[in-house]
Symmetry: C2
DNA sequence: ATATAAATGATAATATTTTTCATTTACAAC
DNA sequence: GTTGTAAATGAAAAATATTATCATTTATAT
């Protein structure tokens, strides 16, 4: 269930953040949108409500909200520019958060889930993104 | 199985792209790395081999390689700046590639797969990213 | 060897994100 | 309500990242 404006405001304050009109407006904008929004898009919308707001404040607010997990960051097919070598056939990736090592793995099938989602939502599903993040063995040892 | 330099070169030519020393070097760099690399990182490495190469050529080559699916683009925890409202509990996202609508869904458990991967690779898994991309009902109709 | 379209690199333009710092403001304490 | 204070804001600049333009070079087919 999606978080409400109220809940988000409360959590912010619980963590010692001040509840400014700018932050309220950013929260309201995101909470009332069905889409995912970039900082620039949020700025545009918030600007109507708070004409004097600066784009920096958007960035700063988003950082806080994301850190507290009050908003979700999406990849959404957008282009991250980090690449690894391709492989034959469909596969997914396991990535070390410390050294960046990438392991390909295959044999995990998401078509059942895809069908369930398609049935439940009416979406025509085009693809998916599945990545795991963790620490490789080397990097675990270094942590000692 | 990871694609080889040879295979990639062949595919490029099959698609009518010329096989320049610059492109060879970019391919070799990516193919011989265990990590995922940004354009800047690739540039640094390739530059040692091809001191006169420009960063633009890296970008252009990556675009081609990605389009032909000879390399994989990773999100890798990197920060895409597109956000949607948070939700209670762990969940994943289904996103319309046309209008950006985001649907949350829960109840799909990846811990079994996580455990399998952990056992097989020795990784200590910290998290994952699962997103589906598709067309929502509205956007399907507009396509007619 | 030659012709030619494709690719490259220098440069500039654009877009995105972060830093810095003086001013303003939310909020707690009185 | 007033006041004090640390936190937040916005303007501006700086730093990064990406894309566009165009004259020159080059891979490849002939
Ligand atoms: Mn891969
Ligand atoms: Mn969500
Ligand atoms: Zn590692
Ligand atoms: Zn849609």
């Amino acid at each position: 269930m999606r978080l409400t404006e109220r809940k988000i405001a409360a959590t912010l304050r619980q963590h010692g953040y001040k509840l400014t009109p700018q932050r309220r407006s950013v929260i309201r904008t995101i909470a009332s949108s069905q889409d995912h929004l970039t900082p620039a898009a949020i700025y545009q919308k918030v600007h109507q409500d708070q004409p004097s707001i600066g784009l920096v404040t958007i960035y700063r607010t988003l950082d806080i909200l994301a850190k507290l997990e009050l908003i979700c960051e999406l990849h959404a097919g957008g282009s991250c520019h980090s690449y690894t070598i391709g492989a034959r056939g469909h596969h997914h990736h396991l990535i070390c958060s410390n050294c960046g090592e990438v392991i390909d793995f295959a044999g995990y099938d998401l078509t059942q889930l895809e069908q369930r989602l398609s049935r439940q939502t009416g979406f025509e599903i085009e693809g998916h993104l599945l990545e795991f993040i963790g620490l490789c063995q080397n990097c675990q040892q270094e942590d000692d």
